[in-house]
Point group: C2
Chain length 150, copies 2
DNA sequence: CGGGAATAGTTGAGATCTCAACTAAGTTGG
DNA sequence: CCAACTTAGTTGAGATCTCAACTATTCCCG
């Protein structure tokens, strides 16, 4: 039995992950009618100069598999929020571009999105803890990324 | 926009959540042939006296919706890892019980499960940060739980 | 140059998850 | 005592995600 600090921290973290995912999805679903992962994709494009990116770069930035990205893009293309453009220089490449409707969705939803779940989730943390959280999250991602590189 | 500490912490956290979920699922899938959420359910029953619990209590403890629990139980019943028993005192209640095969799976996988992803994910954290992580995670869950209570 | 390797993305099947609608069983106030 | 309400769980449809197999294009080296 290891009820060490690590085990306790681990349990809390896994629970927090679960609860957070759920809260994010619910809010995104309610505000915009799409899952959080999809909305994040739109926001990412929105913040990109030109509102467009090659699919593979988008996938890498969002840490999505190629397949996952294809399915997501296909779905959101049907919804009219983004469009595919074939690259002129490399015909393998699909450029994923935000449409005007997609931009409108981001502008409409983002202000609430940015504040609501986040504000609640972080509401009980001191400014110090917010700083700690960033460092810890970054370290976790770095550690797991490094392992994947094997 | 606000590139405040909160926004940065939030981004890191969301990324960490994504990466963690993926790592957990991959390991669980590889070691036991089932998703992390399913494996957690088996572990939870394994740690419960009698290796059985009413479905609604299981759902509450794991923070799963009734529907999600039903689907999970149905799937794992087919795999032979757990079984349903109808309660004698309240015929609405389904008792979910770990089978011998389920116990064996937990015993076989759990030692690696407990250490591998966890060890990697936490490897870059100082003992202090591990403590901070637990406090922060707990605070986040509490904050979101309280909101849900509305 | 040419053919194999790498890269980019797609596809379809199967699994899980959510949501809403539903059945069944127990509880309770008038 | 019984109709309305609550609680427990199921069901099926639809959406997303994973995984493996596949096509198309480009790169690279002998």
């Amino acid at each position: 039995m290891d009820e060490q600090p690590e085990a306790r921290a681990w349990r809390s973290l896994v629970t927090a992950v679960l609860v957070l995912e759920e809260a994010l999805d619910r809010q995104s679903q309610r505000d915009g009618g799409l899952p959080h992962a999809y909305f994040s994709l739109l926001v990412f494009l929105y913040e990109t100069p030109g509102h467009r990116l090659p699919a593979s770069e988008l996938a890498a930035r969002l840490r999505h598999s190629p397949s996952r990205l294809t399915h997501a893009v296909t779905s959101m293309e049907k919804s009219g929020w983004l469009a595919r453009e074939r690259s002129a220089t490399d015909r393998r490449v699909q450029i994923v571009a935000l449409t005007e409707a997609g931009s409108r969705l981001v502008r409409r939803v983002s202000p609430r999105q940015a504040t609501e779940v986040r504000a609640v989730a972080l509401s009980r943390l001191s400014p110090q803890q917010v700083g700690q959280l960033e460092e810890i999250s970054t370290a976790i991602v770095a550690a797991l990324d490094e392992r994947d590189a094997d």
